[in-house]
């Protein structure tokens, strides 16, 4: 009894427990099988999630290292196919004034039409589409079991569609859609980065080309030249942008009179610079090869040569062309629309040498004549582009020709270079250093 008393209840309890366990065993095996199955599912999901996380990491990494737009689109399509477990994935990118970019993985999986229609960025426009076997939205040219399309905006005028076609198994479920949205978000950033890089590269290329053009243009304009006896000449030309439409040149050739000219192509920038170079070459050539290089005749020939080109581009050029004749101490010149040109005789007041013909390129003929002018000791000729007299201050008041004349008169006893420097300094002070137009000034002084 004591034994019983001692152990009886325990044994009874144990027995009772055993009995209970024996009775519940089939149920437990079934639960365990279920649990094992669930565990397998969870393990598979975990592996899937790890794969997806790895693929997302890979996507982020490759997106960061991909600066090229096409490479970025290929990466997006490849990773979308892998992550969403579909037979084919694509990205369609619509940008203004460019053909639609369509990149898919694998290549040539589906047709690439109709996507511009989906790229509607209005607020109420559909953002996502689910495709079914009979879906009317199927314009891919292949059988579609299922598909998911997601539209996303990169910029207000740049839109893309991410597409996933034909799941390898099953249908698109909620996690797939969440994942597709996440891929679209990352794709949006990656495409924006690639576009910014492309913009920066284009900008850098343009700046390099402009710097090169600036250098070439500066090289075209002579710094020094052999001058006739007792003639001093100073000249400077500063474009408002990297390159400009102003030009000047001097030509000293043994069998020709010393020639000098200043021109101003209407407008600024690249087209003006190109026409400036053509006009300068044309004048040089006429001066060098014409049997009697008469100023008015030279400008008329140049006009005949270039009228068609100037008409095609809708521009014109003003030119003042002069020659110094040492034997007679004279200047001979012709002026097609150029202003201001200021003549300051040693014994008189400054006066404008006005044009007598419209600029080159306006009409198919010029009206200019060759004029003669005394050019002896202490006489001064100043030719500038309109960037000087039209330089305006903050009140919109222009520097004007009268102030130019006053400056030249004040400095009439200074050197040619000092007259140039003084004029530039006065205009800069007046316009508070703001240069609105190309500025060219040539000063010729008889010593």
């Amino acid at each position: 009894m004591p034994l019983n008393n001692t152990h009886g209840p325990d044994l009874q309890t144990k027995h009772a427990t055993l009995d209970h366990n024996d009775l519940q065993m089939p149920v437990r095996v079934s639960d365990m099988l279920d649990l094992e199955h669930e565990l397998d599912e969870m393990a598979r999901d975990l592996v899937d999630s790890q794969d997806q996380l790895l693929a997302l990491y890979e996507m982020n990494r490759s997106m960061r290292s991909n600066a090229d737009l096409n490479d970025s689109l290929v990466t997006i399509a490849q990773l979308a196919r892998k992550l969403l477990r579909v037979h084919g994935a694509f990205v369609a990118l619509a940008m203004p004034d460019q053909p639609l970019k369509f990149v898919q993985d694998p290549p040539n999986y589906a047709k690439d039409d109709q996507f511009t229609l989906l790229c509607d960025s209005s607020p109420n426009a559909t953002r996502e589409w689910f495709l079914e076997p009979e879906s009317q939205a199927n314009t891919f040219g292949i059988p579609i079991q299922n598909g998911y399309l997601r539209r996303f905006e990169i910029r207000p005028d740049v839109c893309a569609v991410l597409g996933a076609l034909n799941k390898i198994s099953g249908n698109f479920r909620s996690p797939d859609i969440k994942l597709a949205r996440s891929i679209a978000d990352r794709a949006s950033s990656a495409i924006e980065t690639a576009l910014l890089v492309a913009d920066n590269i284009a900008q850098a290329r343009l700046q390099t080309e402009m710097a090169l053009a600036h250098r070439i243009q500066a090289e075209l304009l002579p710094k020094t030249t052999a001058l006739p006896d007792r003639i001093a000449l100073a000249v400077t030309s500063t474009p408002a942008r990297e390159i400009g439409g102003d030009f000047y040149d001097m030509q000293a050739e043994s069998d020709r009179p010393f020639a000098f000219y200043v021109g101003d192509v209407s407008g600024k920038g690249t087209s003006a610079a190109l026409l400036m170079a053509v006009t300068r070459t044309c004048i040089r050539s006429q001066h060098r090869y014409m049997s009697h290089p008469d100023p008015a005749l030279i400008l008329d020939r140049v006009n005949r040569d270039l009228y068609g080109d100037f008409t095609d581009v809708g521009m014109f050029v003003t030119v003042f062309y002069g020659q110094y004749l040492p034997k007679t101490s004279e200047l001979v010149y012709a002026n097609c629309g150029h202003s201001p040109v200021i003549y300051l005789p040693s014994d008189g007041n400054p006066r404008l040498l006005e044009a007598d013909s419209p600029p080159i390129g306006v009409m198919d003929m010029t009206f200019c004549s060759t004029h003669q002018l005394r050019f002896a000791a202490d006489d001064i000729l100043v030719i500038t582009s309109d960037g000087f007299n039209e330089a305006a201050n903050s009140d919109g008041v222009m520097f004007g020709i009268d102030r130019m004349m006053a400056s030249i008169q004040t400095n009439r006893h200074a050197s040619a270079q000092e007259i140039v420097d003084a004029l530039i300094a006065e205009v800069n002070t007046f316009a508070h250093g703001v240069r609105q137009d190309d500025q060219t000034v040539m000063v010729i002084k008889h010593l």
Binding site: G267, G314, C336, G337, S357, P358, F367
Partner: protein
């Protein structure tokens, strides 16, 4: 710059006012491209300034009208604008009048 446009089968008339410079020239070019007029009149009475880009636009418009056998007339130039035309001798190239309703 403000542009008032009148168009009839015979003529395009533009009345310009304000600053006529490189920023405004595309609008004027557009009017000439759109209507491709044989004859045109541009009233410049309200123009306070015009630059070389504006002059180029007017020259181009004049050439286009003449190619079609017509003419571009510039009317009512204020003194500062007239001075620019005189200095560049573009006054010799254009038909310039002082009556706003000139043909």
């Amino acid at each position: 710059m403000q542009i008032i446009e009148e168009i009839t089968p015979e003529k395009l008339t533009l009345r310009l006012s304000g600053r006529f410079d490189a920023h405004e020239t595309p609008q004027v070019r557009q009017k000439f491209t759109e209507h491709a007029p044989k004859n045109a009149l541009i009233d410049l009475s309200g123009v306070t300034f015009l630059d070389s880009a504006a002059l180029s636009t007017l020259v181009q418009a004049m050439k286009n009208c003449r190619e079609r056998g017509g003419e571009l007339t510039l009317a009512n130039m204020p003194q500062p604008v007239r001075i620019i035309f005189e200095l560049t001798r573009l006054d010799k190239a254009f038909n310039i009048v002082n009556a706003p309703d000139a043909p």
